[in-house]
């Protein structure tokens, strides 16, 4: 069995400018922030970021790494709006493909299943179709005389054809993993992490702790806490605190105080410079030291 252990820096070394990159988690929860910061301090540029957006999107926008964001929202959960994202949008610095969060899920599912689109009612009648003029409708081939038509109201019905969201790379963060690439989520919601990985060409996971293959179900954890199997993962990097400052229970909750400082740093360029020099444009060890200093 392949040993897929790698490092955060090596993961970022596999990314290229212009790539479409999926980032797991949801809002300000279980985001692979160590990788996000490593992208911020790299020379990557012109990225398309696909995410249930949180501070990953805000940070990448604040450091000018992003050409386009594909999302249904960007939020910090306990702070409704990410001011870095807000500034990027209001200054017209970033394009957006804004879709319903269920359409987003179907886009990942379609890519993972290798079909070009999946049909849905979601989006019909809304401005999602006008702000994304390339989104198309599809007419059901099952008409009134079809033996497969369950309900006459659906004869020839027109639905949104949500296109597959193909990713060049995807990055997720988990509580535990093994060197083969199986990943464990010990909080109640795996979000859409397995689908991000399934939709991607190159698939990476960071994790709090790497344990021996076959031991993820030890300590009484049911195997249902392991939603990510090794066929979905090319590289796994141990990164303790790798989701800080987003929530990653049971290892740690959201660092609300830090998140407030992150949000406040959007208010003016000097604040941002001060914040970024301590918490963005530094290596992981230095980052952790600066975070610890604040708590002291």
């Amino acid at each position: 069995m392949a040993d897929k252990r790698t490092t955060v820096d090596d993961i970022v070394g596999e990314l290229r400018s212009g790539m479409t990159i999926g980032i797991g988690g949801w809002g300000s929860r279980r985001k692979p922030m160590a990788v996000v910061r490593a992208i911020c301090r790299s020379d990557l540029t012109d990225l398309t970021v696909v995410a249930y957006g949180g501070p990953d999107v805000g940070l990448l926008c604040a450091t000018d790494k992003v050409r386009k964001v594909v999302c249904g929202f960007v939020t910090l959960d306990s702070i409704a709006l990410d001011p870095h994202w807000r500034a990027a949008r209001q200054h017209g610095r970033v394009e957006v493909m804004e879709v319903d969060e269920g359409m987003f899920f179907l886009g990942l599912q379609a890519a993972s299943w290798r079909v070009p689109f999946l049909p849905t009612r979601a989006g019909l009648g809304s401005d999602v179709l006008t702000i994304n003029p390339d989104l198309e409708l599809v007419r059901s081939p099952y008409g009134a005389d079809s033996p497969y038509l369950a309900d006459p109201a659906d004869a020839d019905v027109e639905l949104v054809a949500m296109p597959a969201l193909h990713l060049d790379a995807a990055i997720v963060h988990t509580n535990r993993a093994d060197a083969a690439g199986n990943g464990q989520v010990l909080s109640p919601d795996p979000f859409f992490d397995p689908l991000f990985l399934g939709a991607a060409e190159r698939r990476f996971m960071t994790t709090e702790t790497i344990v021996e293959n076959g031991t993820l179900a030890d300590e009484g954890h049911p195997l249902s806490t392991v939603p990510i199997h090794r066929m979905l993962v090319d590289g796994v990097a141990e990164s303790q605190g790798g989701a800080h400052f987003t929530a990653n229970p049971p290892d740690y909750g959201r660092d609300e105080k830090f998140q407030k400082e992150y949000a406040a740093a959007a208010t003016d360029p000097a604040e941002w410079e001060a914040f970024a020099s301590r918490f963005v444009f530094v290596g992981d060890d230095e980052y952790k030291a600066h975070v610890a200093e604040r708590q002291a």
Binding site: W26, E101, G102, G125, S126, D127, I131
Partner: protein, 260 residues
């Protein structure tokens, strides 16, 4: 229909709003009720404890919750009955087993809601949270809206970015959009509204105690249908008032969302 009709039991505006929200779910049945905002959350819990015992509430994370505990209950003290991660929420949404109340930064005459952006979407004047699940919710299951600050800036002739779909837009999109489309109510800090007019434009359903119809019309950026026999939002029963004040919200979080 004026301030002096406020009853002696001292029902606050926030409490009238809670009652108005609870009434949205009177006939809901065994569906997942997803309330956004403090007052809709109180309304859903009140409905579950009184006239709609079958409704299903989430713990705000990834589970369905037993009972209807106080809104400030710590997550560790909640009792859960089933798993409900986001992936499964879409199964609920698209099967129609849901009845929700979203918030609206803008709501318009035909029931379109906006939570995406103010101004042009390409370069917004104000970036909001994003359309979230509003497009899909609104064409798959009953979706009502809560607006805690009713003004001409929130009740507008036409929203800037249609997130939740209103009646005219659903009709124009065809049967795929109209089949399960339903905007039962809009509740604001001033009154209750619905779309039970011949052309599905917004109608005043009731005004909250202490609010006048004139006040509501002045705070609305379009012509509102006002029935001749429009009534006051009903008062809470003594039992309901006790549940709100003593059981569900002893910390009066409701007054932070709507002041009397």
């Amino acid at each position: 229909m004026s301030a002096d009709s406020t009853p002696d039991i001292g029902v606050t505006r926030a409490e009238s709003c809670v009652i108005a929200c609870a009434e949205v779910w009177r006939e809901a049945g065994e569906v997942m009720v997803s309330p956004f905002g403090t007052i809709p959350a109180l309304g859903a819990r009140l409905a579950k404890l009184t006239f709609s015992p079958d409704i299903v509430l989430t713990d705000g994370e990834a589970a369905l919750m037993v009972g209807a505990p106080a809104i400030a209950t710590r997550p560790a003290d909640l009792v859960r009955e089933a798993n409900m991660p986001y992936r499964s929420v879409f199964d609920v949404v698209w099967s129609g087993r849901r009845n929700m109340m979203m918030m609206a930064s803008q709501i318009d005459r035909t029931g379109n809601q906006n939570i995406s952006a103010i101004g042009p979407h390409a370069k917004p004047k104000v970036q909001l949270v994003g359309v979230r699940g509003a497009p899909g919710n609104s064409v798959n299951h009953p979706t009502s809206y809560w607006v805690p600050d009713h003004t001409v800036r929130t009740f507008v002739e036409q929203v800037d970015v249609v997130s939740g779909v209103g009646y005219a837009r659903a009709a124009a999109a065809g049967a795929g959009a109209t089949r399960f489309h339903d905007v039962p109510r809009v509740v604001s800090n001033l009154g209750v509204f619905d779309f039970q007019t011949p052309d599905h434009t917004m109608r005043l359903r009731s005004y909250h105690p202490g609010v006048s119809v004139d006040e509501i019309e002045a705070a609305t950026g379009f012509a509102l249908t006002v029935p001749d026999d429009v009534a006051e939002t009903r008062l809470p029963t003594p039992e309901e008032l006790d549940l709100i004040r003593a059981v569900l919200d002893p910390g009066s979080l409701r007054d932070r969302e709507v002041r009397t």
